[in-house]
């Protein structure tokens, strides 16, 4: 099987476009975040559809606008957010394997639902592996965000692909419900019962402060929880600031934090939460 290095050239970068895999583990002792895809469920689906390794890297996009040209043939698939995807100006559906030819153009336009769209590619990307991961992060990998006219390497395979019988039925509603399962965090018991109940009964709105490090929620919880000494935090840790803001830490979260950690989001719920957009509402359940 002949594999030739080829490039995807970005005519437009899109929003928060990065290469991610499952993340970088074992470096937290030096202050290095895990990183990795925001929504593992979608990434795994993309790799499964392509018959890739489950850990192969994918392209993650946090909004519309990415426009890219492929140098050589490959196969790709889109999973995650419900977005308008154009393949040489023709609309295509998520979950369908696209047999890309030389000079084909992919253009991502409107996001209808969900926050992160994933593009899986045959064999994953060939970007640099740093500390056993291809996940982009500032100061760790040479690139940390796609910029206009950047290129990303992949391996083009010149072989006959057995046609996949049919394209998988995509369930685009899996992240639609707003129930987020949580565990009590180390400082939960410092909240008065009344406040605990309020947090569990209230709906929270995702604010516009949404990125790979954290999602901030709009509603505030007045509190007098004592500050803590800097302590470990993880993706999914929910911090409560002195002014009452709830901050949900995401995949690029720093490894330690100084705000009380009132809740910890369950792993699958973190994938669901990551797909929420500003204005979407969520409820916590213990």
């Amino acid at each position: 099987m002949i594999k030739t290095p080829a490039y995807i050239h970005f005519i437009q970068p899109g929003l928060m476009t990065t290469v991610q895999d499952l993340g970088r583990f074992g470096m937290a002792a030096y202050g290095v975040p895990y990183s990795g895809v925001m929504d593992r469920f979608s990434m795994t689906q993309a790799n499964y559809l392509l018959q890739n390794q489950f850990y192969d890297s994918v392209l993650e996009m946090g909004g519309p606008g990415a426009k890219m040209v492929f140098e050589m043939p490959t196969r790709i698939v889109f999973v995650g957010a419900d977005a308008d995807i154009y393949w040489n100006d023709k609309p295509v559906k998520a979950g369908k394997i696209l047999e890309i030819q030389e000079d084909d153009v992919i253009h991502i336009r409107k996001f209808r639902k969900g926050q992160w769209l994933y593009m899986g590619i045959q064999g994953g990307f060939e970007t640099e592996i740093v500390a056993e991961s291809r996940s982009w992060y500032p100061g760790i990998t040479p690139q940390f965000k796609i910029e206009k006219s950047d290129s990303v390497c992949y391996l083009s395979e010149e072989r006959f692909y057995p046609a996949l019988s049919s394209h998988a039925k995509m369930n685009l509603n899996w992240f639609k419900h707003g129930e987020i399962k949580v565990y009590k965090g180390p400082e939960w018991d410092q909240l008065p019962k009344l406040m605990q109940n309020r947090i569990m009964k209230k709906s929270f709105t995702i604010s516009t402060l949404v990125n790979r490090m954290a999602y901030q929620l709009e509603e505030t919880i007045e509190n007098e929880v004592e500050p803590i000494l800097t302590s470990p935090v993880y993706p999914g840790t929910i911090q409560l600031t002195p002014n009452g803001t709830l901050i949900v830490l995401m995949r690029d979260a720093q490894v330690t934090g100084g705000y009380p950690r009132i809740l910890q989001v369950e792993n699958n719920s973190l994938n669901i939460l990551s797909q929420k957009r500003p204005g979407d509402r969520i409820n916590f359940s213990l």
């Binding site: 583990f25 470096m27 030096y30 100061g139 565990y183 009590k184 180390p186 803590i228 720093q254 330690t256």
Partner: protein, 236 residues
């Protein structure tokens, strides 16, 4: 040991010591960490520490009862005597109003001279408790009370790489350009984090750190050496 155990879920637990920054707690944390690494090697995915916490991410699921057993085992560990035989790393810092743009303001707040701030800051021996916040950012204990300064209400959008700063009861060096709410008093020319190295940081947890005032000229020399990978750290 005065420790409480908290089970966040079946694969994530946290041990908490009393809420103080102390080298005694750090010593106990190190002892507990070694205990877990030796006794529970297979079951542990990652250990992280904070000033008074130790967090365990597990590969296996554990119950509340297991937590109680673990706590009992920890309490039966022999108490450790003596102190760390740790190194004191010398970290060069150019203290000046140019490289530390809050130095003059800080002198005003504390009603002491710039020289006095530099003297207090550079004569103290700090202890490295853990890394966090940014890759290679050292959480140091030991700042002299005279220099305690509340963090800025509005963090700066950008602190240059190498900025030495004071925030609250802490001092530290920004290993990379970053937003930050601490008060800048100087700049360090040495690269503190290098991902291309097997161990991307130099001082180990429990080691000591002392800042050495240097001139602008020496700063530039060291910066050049450090960029070329030719600077060697030194310690007592």
């Amino acid at each position: 040991m005065d420790i409480r155990i908290f089970r966040i879920h079946s694969k994530l637990i946290e041990l908490a010591w009393p809420k103080v920054i102390s080298t005694d707690i750090l010593r106990e944390q190190q002892q507990v960490r070694r205990f877990f690494e030796e006794e529970y090697t297979e079951g542990i995915r990652e250990i992280r520490i904070g000033f008074n916490t130790l967090s365990l991410k597990l590969r296996i699921e554990i119950s509340e009862n297991d937590c109680a057993d673990i706590l009992e085992e920890i309490n039966q560990l022999p108490s450790i005597l003596g102190s760390f035989s740790s190194k004191i790393w010398k970290i060069p810092v150019h203290y000046s109003p140019e490289s530390g743009k809050d130095l003059e303001k800080l002198a005003g707040i504390h009603e002491i001279g710039i020289e006095e701030i530099i003297k207090i800051h550079s004569e103290t021996i700090y202890t490295l408790h853990f890394y966090g916040f940014l890759p290679g950012f050292m959480y140091l204990g030991g700042l002299d009370e005279k220099l305690y300064t509340p963090r800025k209400k509005n963090p700066e959008r950008s602190m240059p790489s190498g900025t030495v700063a004071i925030g609250g009861k802490q001092t530290g060096i920004y290993p990379a350009e970053s937003p930050g709410g601490w008060h800048a008093i100087g700049q360090c020319p040495v690269r503190l984090f290098d991902i291309s190295k097997e161990r991307p940081v130099v001082p180990a947890i429990g080691d000591k750190v002392k800042f050495e005032p240097i001139t602008r000229e020496v700063f530039e020399d060291i910066q050049q050496l450090s960029h070329q990978g030719l600077y060697s750290w030194h310690h007592d």
